[in-house]
């Protein structure tokens, strides 16, 4: 569900609506978005256009960091940008963040070209870099206030926004400490808060979860999902696939500067994949599998359960209903590796072959 909203209108009604969205802990009810207010002019619909990248390339000297990237990220979705180290994720994000000029191709962020209209993009885009830089002698609060001022918010709005964001990312106790005393994870939170200061409709998060402890990761996941549910476009890069699996609703695979085509991704959906099955009575499971006609060479056992090779979701569903019908007490039936990881690894396999 997406929702059209203009950042400026957000600032003007700094009252109840925003406070409701930006307080911790996140109540599940906050994820449910309201219908768009009727008074939003139609031209502002363009602001929720998300990200469109077509045939973008960029090289540094002789190094082709990005060769050909083509993808879209929709408003309301969390799009994962997946690729191994050095695959061009950060370069691509830098181009989306109006910092780097592409050699070729075209980019639209929130409806604007970052090369020709950087200011329009910057007003609507929040970027959390993979480098944790900050003004080391300034306090957390001052950092957020000044970022707000740099985004042309007035003094009072910047101050309230800073307080809200400090609460949102849980840095209350460190609000008045200079940023140089922050730990890595705390700097990550500050960096996230900084990217949200101007209430952007597009969020670019470069490795947002690295350095976060498990509970902070959960907070981040909930927050990112909520921001997406509010109608924002979110692009998250990472090479830690398990963490993306939990929040991404769409994925872009980048390898050696090239995004995988939809065809290739579709092909991975039907490739053989292991599913892990657990039963209340594990000793009966091999017999049950034989009964439903699974050849023994497709079955293996690891410490966590029984692994069965299955091609595609339809196959898996058929296997599950057969097993249940045969009377096996199945307690868990799930892919052994996450969707993203399976696709990613499968793409790499086909790349190499």
């Amino acid at each position: 569900m997406t929702r059209t909203r203009h950042p400026a209108s957000y600032r003007e009604d700094s009252g109840t609506a925003r406070r409701h969205r930006c307080t911790l802990p996140f109540p599940e009810s906050a994820i449910v978005t309201n219908a768009p207010p009727a008074d939003i002019p139609p031209d502002r619909a363009a602001l929720s256009e998300g990200i469109t990248v077509t045939g973008v390339s960029r090289s540094f000297g002789g190094v082709h960091a990005v060769r050909s990237a083509t993808f879209t990220a929709e408003p309301g979705a969390v799009t994962a940008l997946i690729g191994p180290n050095g695959s061009g994720k950060t370069t691509l994000l830098l181009m989306l963040a109006t910092l780097l000029r592409p050699d070729g191709g075209s980019i639209r962020v929130a409806g604007f070209d970052p090369v020709t209209h950087p200011a329009e993009v910057r007003a609507r885009m929040g970027w959390m870099p993979d480098i944790l830089g900050s003004w080391s002698t300034l306090s957390v609060r001052a950092t957020l206030e000044i970022t707000g001022r740099l985004h042309r918010l007035d003094r009072a709005t910047s101050a309230t926004r800073a307080s809200e964001l400090i609460g949102l990312v849980g840095l209350d106790e460190l609000a008045n400490q200079p940023t140089r005393v922050l730990s890595r994870g705390q700097k990550q939170r500050l960096s996230l808060a900084r990217s949200l200061v101007h209430d952007p409709s597009v969020l670019l998060l470069d490795e947002p979860a690295s350095g976060l402890d498990p509970s902070a990761r959960v907070d981040l996941r909930v927050l990112v999902s909520r921001l997406a549910a509010e109608g924002r476009t979110i692009l998250v890069s990472s090479h830690v696939l398990s963490e993306l699996d939990e929040m991404a609703t769409a994925a872009v695979y980048l390898e050696a500067g090239t995004t995988a085509s939809a065809d290739r991704i579709a092909a991975t959906r039907t490739s053989t994949r292991q599913w892990r099955i657990r039963s209340v009575d594990p000793s009966r499971l091999p017999a049950a599998l034989r009964t439903v006609g699974v050849p023994p060479d497709r079955v293996s056992v690891d410490a966590l359960g029984t692994l069965v090779s299955v091609s595609g979701e339809a196959d898996a569903a058929a296997l599950l209903s057969a097993l249940v019908a045969s009377g096996a007490s199945i307690s868990s039936f799930a892919p052994a590796v996450g969707d993203l990881e399976h696709t990613f690894l499968d793409l790499r396999r086909t790349e190499e072959s």
Binding site: T147, L150, S191
Partner: protein, 358 residues
């Protein structure tokens, strides 16, 4: 326009809070105050004997501020942009609505403000020197304005070079080298150039035949004009500083001196360091006389030995150069800022080798 100024003000405030303000900064200012206080005390004691007013004290403090300012400003400004990039704090600023022009200009204004703080610290001592008397109002105004502009030029050079050179250490060093080239390099070029370019000089000496006079124990006496000896011609060489005086126009200290000079006492002697330096430097504009005749014989009855020019006469018959120097400095600073801005502009087309954008 007001959005431009608003963004500029935010960057200026951020820079002053982030880069300048701190304990070390106040210690530096305090140390400078002590140095100026010491210099003021000693100069005051020395001029109280001569009773020449506060001109020398005033000009000395102004030069001290220029010295300290040009020593500190490169360190404060020379890593303004690449230092932020190294700390990962540049790109996060660039994705806000602040423009590259506002960013660079704000950093420049912050570095300039920091250098001007030395002038503020020196203010009580300047007021004291003016209170001693004999400091002309136009000298005060000109000296302070030119000093402020020169400090701004150093700040602009530092900020500009920090946008051009990727490594903070090298941009700081390059800024120092640029300041040294102007302050000391010009003097070296002037001195070596003059010494290396020498012209032959013919000196004709016509002496008096003292043997012909009558001696009553108090030196030879003559009836009428003394008999002359045959002219004696010697050749030598003379350094041609007059070819190189233009180089000195680029020296910030001399720009300051030349601009603020003009105050002389009734004997034609300068009443401050500005005039003393300016008339000395300007005398280099006068080409040396390469065919000198010293006719001691003809001048025997004359009152003086040749004509002596006072510093004021030298100052008056030579051309001022300060505005050429000052204009070239301002162009240099502005050029550095523009260059730095164009290299910092985003979306970036090309990156300096080995630099990360963030």
């Amino acid at each position: 326009m007001s959005t431009f100024l608003g963004g500029l003000g935010t960057v200026l405030g951020l820079e002053l809070r982030q880069r300048v303000r701190g304990v070390a900064w106040y210690v530096l200012l305090g140390t400078f105050a002590l140095v100026v206080a010491g210099a003021t005390l000693m100069l005051w004691l020395s001029i109280s004997y001569a009773n020449t007013g506060g001109g020398y004290l005033f000009s000395t403090i102004i030069f001290l501020v220029l010295l300290l300012g040009t020593l500190v400003a490169p360190a404060l400004s020379g890593n303004a942009i690449n230092g932020d990039r190294d700390a990962g704090a540049l790109a996060t600023t660039q994705v806000t609505l602040v423009s590259t022009g506002q960013l660079v200009l704000g950093k420049f204004l912050a570095a300039w403000t920091a250098a001007l703080a030395f002038l503020v610290v020196a203010l009580p001592f300047l007021i004291f020197s003016v209170a001693l008397g004999a400091v002309a109002a136009d000298t005060i105004v000109t000296a302070v304005i030119v000093l402020a502009i020169e400090l701004g030029v150093v700040a602009a050079l530092g900020v500009g070079l920090s946008g051009v050179i990727p490594r903070p250490l090298f941009s700081v060093v390059t800024t120092y080298l640029a300041v040294a080239a102007l302050s000391i390099g010009t003097l070296i070029v002037f001195t070596l150039g003059g010494a290396a370019t020498q012209s032959p000089m013919k000196t004709t000496y016509i002496g008096i035949d003292y043997e012909a006079g009558t001696d009553f124990g108090a030196g030879p006496q003559f009836d009428g004009p003394p008999p002359c000896l045959d002219p004696m011609i010697t050749t030598s060489t003379q350094p041609r500083y007059d070819y190189y005086w233009g180089v000195l126009a680029a020296n910030p200290y001399l720009v300051l001196a030349d601009a603020a000079a003009g105050s002389f006492d009734r004997n034609g002697n300068p009443t401050d360091l500005f005039g003393a330096i300016a008339s000395g430097v300007r005398s280099a504009q006068i080409p040396p006389d390469l065919d000198v005749t010293i006719d001691e014989c003809a001048m025997y009855d004359a009152k003086g030995m040749g004509e002596y020019e006072t510093p004021e006469q030298v100052y008056d018959r030579t051309v001022p150069t300060w505005f050429v120097g000052l204009a070239s400095h301002v162009l240099l600073g502005a050029g550095a800022l523009l260059w730095g801005t164009s290299r910092t502009r985003t979306p970036a087309r090309k990156l300096p080798k080995g630099s990360r954008i963030a």
